[in-house]
Symmetry: C2
Amino acid sequence: MARTTGSDGEKTEAAVREAAVSLIARLGYEAMSMRQLAAEVGVQAAALYRYFPTKQDLLFTLMREHMEGLIEAWDAARPAAADPATRLAAYVENHIAFHIERRHSTHVSNMELRSLSHDRLTQILRMRTAYEKELRVILRDGAEAGVFDVEDTGLTAMALIQMMTGVIVWFRPGERLSISEVTATYLSMTMRLVGAAASTGEQRTL
Amino acid sequence: MARTTGSDGEKTEAAVREAAVSLIARLGYEAMSMRQLAAEVGVQAAALYRYFPTKQDLLFTLMREHMEGLIEAWDAARPAAADPATRLAAYVENHIAFHIERRHSTHVSNMELRSLSHDRLTQILRMRTAYEKELRVILRDGAEAGVFDVEDTGLTAMALIQMMTGVIVWFRPGERLSISEVTATYLSMTMRLVGAAASTGEQRTL
């Protein structure tokens, strides 16, 4: 996420964002002060306000960039004109890969919606809904084609997203399982959960 | 959760706990002050310290009681000497029913582990592990009996728990679905995810 090239201003802004994600994940947004954040980055508090006029501008930027990144990653990963099972597999792989690399940012994005103003909350929720809709469409296409057996596409989409995002709660790199082993198991659970033909999930390789 | 009988002291303590769960869910533990909590309850800050000598004693009490309540609810709901599918269904129903009624408390228990001291974190994690182990044992028994098809009981248990607890993120009573409709759909997804014979999940009624 941090930019490694660019002007000093861009480097400072990237450092602020990175330190803010980490501080908010540790303390919560309400408890973090701009003064504390400035000290963490090693700049004067006044310098922060050049990039983020208010503390909430900072929070909103972090959340918007998180969602933009997720949507861009899915746009790049989305297979063109593929069958529903291949599209679902791509969605699962992209979702897990994106979130496992952004544990703190995911934490902040899920926890601190409570601290956004109404208008900004609406903007973030609109982006989330658009992203989740991609999954609902895949599930619906699969159900209509008779390759998935899904009772309620809305509930199934929420269940899958929460199951997948939950990986960040317990997964730590370098422990029992690799990211690709975890992803393979989640993919297989997903395929069973949506009632895909057993062979679809089990013969797929990552 | 709130006690409706008992001495004035017990009533105050219950009011403190209830207000604390709500404030911490809204602001985060680090941002909540004991002064603010006292004002919410309508007592002097000094009165709080009679019940909870430190702010962390309060947080720990909330989390310990949440886990004790969950384990007690499961002890009461656990079917005696039943087949794995019946036990799994009971676990799912109890887990969803317990958390859907305690949205803020669940939120606090999941989010504020970061604010516990090492010893207290260890105590809470030990209770969580014991509760999660109940699910792993059901999955393992089902796999050994050949009625479930589970690749990794640890991962499957985590996936199911996060999928089920995630209900509190989006479920609101009085909207499109009732609690029993949501539970029935989650039960059916669970049975498919663990590869239970299709009839087991679909013929079951709540």
